[in-house]
């Protein structure tokens, strides 16, 4: 757990829309959260809920249509000075889900890993670039001689390591890991998760970890935010969320976690979230704090109920 909470990244009422005015579609509909220095913040939700869009908005790959993003006390969304833009590129790196699709197939590992440096640290000598690449490869448990090979010569787990090396070489302070293990075999997932944890411990990195699966989240995240159709529906410290999930969507996600225990699994009831179970016609939901640090999207009637649940739980 993070002791002295210093906010590294602050997302305030973020909105992202795609498409031209008339046919515009709002993929992210006003979400807010803070990420503290040194923590792993999990963002979980089903496909299409807007997780990747949030990540891409933070690293400025897509423009925001509302709200703002503050990093290290400076606004990094919208129009910003070039120097700050450079700083963002160096400090915030993203690791993608599908290691094959995210790597340039025709480039050698050497180029893939150093590509970011070529843009931000133009003055280095060839030897310096090589040293940095070799160090990054070793940091992720790959052999330096892999630099001369092409991505297709590697297994899925190794390709994901290349993706991580590519991010690490920039010496970022904040990494957005977008479903980094979803496309991997279970046996390899553990290796990649361990690698990410070790790197965090060694370098004091801060992570935004995106996944659709809560079981992995519990192992890696300090706090978790649940996103549904572009809105956050709940956010809490990991164990609090697992012990007292309030929102029916969070409960549905939890019930979907497969349990490797036949007896428990056979008793488990799968819950399916149906938004129609909430009547918001007269009393619309707001993003509110139900208990310290436990946020929920709920209307006043629900909020009252949730507060009672949490009070009893204590």
């Amino acid at each position: 757990m993070v002791e002295n909470k210093e906010v590294l990244l602050s997302v305030k009422d973020l909105k992202v829309a795609f498409g031209a005015k008339k046919h515009s579609f709002e993929a992210v509909r006003g979400i807010s959260f803070d990420i503290y220095k040194g923590e792993t913040f999990g963002l979980v939700g089903e496909s299409g809920s807007g997780k990747t869009t949030v990540g891409r908005a933070i690293i400025r790959l897509i423009p925001v249509s509302g709200g703002e993003i503050i990093f290290n006390g400076e606004r990094i969304s919208g129009k910003i000075p070039r120097a700050l833009d450079k700083k963002v590129i160096r400090n915030i790196q993203m690791i993608f889900q599908d290691p094959m699709a995210s790597l340039n197939e025709r480039a050698k590992v050497d180029y893939i890993v150093k590509e970011g440096l070529l843009n931000t640290e133009k003055g280095l000598s060839a030897q310096e670039y090589e040293n940095r690449v070799q160090k990054a490869l070793m940091d992720v448990g790959l052999l330096p001689e892999f630099a001369g090979r092409f991505p297709h010569e590697f297994s899925g787990g190794q390709r994901q390591r290349i993706g991580i090396a590519r991010a690490l070489i920039m010496k970022p302070s904040f990494i957005i890991a977008d479903e980094p293990i979803s496309a991997l075999d279970v046996s390899i997932r553990a290796q990649v998760l361990n690698l990410l944890s070790n790197l965090q411990k060694e370098r004091g990195l801060t992570y935004l970890f995106i996944a659709h699966d809560l079981s992995v989240m519990r192992f890696i995240s300090d706090r978790i935010a649940v996103i549904h159709k572009g809105r956050l529906v709940e956010m809490a410290e990991t164990e609090k969320l697992f012990q007292h999930p309030l929102h029916p969507y969070t409960q549905a996600l939890l019930s979907a976690i497969p349990l490797p225990n036949p007896e428990a699994e056979k008793q488990k009831k799968l819950k399916i979230y149906d938004p129609a179970c909430q009547d918001y016609s007269t009393d619309p939901p707001v993003w509110a704090e139900a208990a310290e640090g436990h946020f929920i999207l709920a209307n006043q009637a629900e909020l009252k109920k949730y507060r009672e649940v949490l009070q009893h739980a204590r």
Binding site: S187, L193, P245, A256, I257, P258, P260
Partner: protein, 351 residues
């Protein structure tokens, strides 16, 4: 309990021709599939799960061949059938669902047309009766407004819905055996859980024999009656669902179970299997898992272990079960599997 065997594999060896070399993908597998059971086949990528099951529907890639062994189905050996003979079995008697449902769906035809074709070809149901049956099938796989949905094309469905359609088409052929090759691997956990429930209920309703293939041992606890664990082209352990989860014997099964994130504790290292699977172009000496097994015995590098029977339903290929072997306890994490329970506090019973 005596049960009817529907499909019986004996000493199966399958190889692939690759330029001048041969890749030994299935290395002497024997397996009986019982009528009405659901068998999960679990193992990491490349262990041979797909190759094994492709032999059951005559879809082995062109460069692959059965070097030796037999597969008895419907009173005959199906290892060397002609394409004409396969058409009798494929779909109608043994059907298969793939990870990507688009491989079995035609993007240019409506869902209704595709279901009706299957009904016509395999069950001679046509016209109004077929329409009615198609609506029934879509309802069975949990698709709402079936009449409207029948007129739609595959691209109008989400990934999870497409998989349901593929299942409806497979079931339309009224197969005896349904093979599901990683049907949920590309899907969200919520959808995965729903598809697993669906397959389980269809199995009961239609009396299907189910073969469920996955790389994730963590997902089969509910759907599997029995579990076969594959490693490097061989079934290294097989037993009932309870036997594999609560009393696993093979070090590879131990490793698969230990690396499940559900068993991890935050702040501690998650168990991970070291090394990589063996190169199947080269002959394998001894126990194929030995180089990755932290507790490998000297004999593991020399002689391939035979099956040791643990119970009537449970056997494993590991020298650890030999009476002369040292007693090695399974890793700690998996001894606590029974205590893994549903989290999420109060359940209010809503489903």
């Amino acid at each position: 309990m005596e049960r009817e065997v529907v499909l019986s594999v004996r000493d199966l060896n399958v190889k692939f021709r690759m330029r001048k070399k041969a890749l030994h993908a299935i290395r002497g597998i024997s397996l009986d599939l019982y009528q009405g059971e659901s068998l999960a086949i679990v193992g990491e990528s490349g262990s041979g799960k797909s190759v094994l099951s492709k032999n059951f529907i005559g879809l082995l890639d062109k460069n692959g061949y059965v070097e030796s062994g037999t597969i008895q189905f419907g009173g005959k050996d199906i290892t060397h059938l002609k394409e004409k003979e396969w058409e009798q079995i494929r779909g109608g008697q043994i059907a298969m669902i793939m990870q990507d449902p688009m491989t079995s769906l035609n993007p240019l035809k409506s869902i209704g047309w595709q279901i009706c074709e299957a009904l016509k070809y395999h069950r001679k149901i046509v016209g109004q009766a077929a329409q009615k049956k198609a609506v029934e099938l879509l309802t069975d796989v949990g698709i709402t407004e079936p009449e409207t949905r029948l007129k739609q094309y595959p691209h109008e469905f989400s990934g999870g819905m497409r998989q349901r359609v593929a299942i409806a088409i497979a079931v339309a052929c009224n197969p005896q055996v349904l093979i599901c090759d990683e049907p949920t691997t590309a899907l969200d956990v919520t959808i995965q859980a729903q598809i697993l429930n669906l397959l389980k209920s269809l199995k009961d309703r239609y009396g299907l024999t189910l073969v469920f293939i996955t790389h994730d041992l963590g997902v089969v606890a509910n759907i599997a009656d029995r579990i076969a664990v594959m490693y490097a082209g061989d079934i290294v352990e097989i037993g009932t669902c309870d036997e594999i989860f609560y009393d696993p014997k093979h070090p590879y099964t131990w490793a698969l179970l230990s690396s499940l994130p559900q068993l991890g504790t935050k702040g501690e290292k998650l168990y991970s299997i070291q090394g990589t699977p063996p190169n199947l172009y080269l002959p394998i000496r001894g126990d194929a898992f030995a180089p990755r097994n932290p507790n490998a015995l000297a004999i593991d590098y020399l002689h391939r272990p035979p099956y040791f029977q643990v119970s009537e339903t449970h056997k494993a290929k590991t020298w650890l079960l030999d009476s002369r072997a040292p007693k090695i306890a399974p890793p700690e994490q998996i001894q606590s599997i029974r205590s893994i329970c549903f989290l999420g506090g109060e359940t209010d019973g809503r489903e």
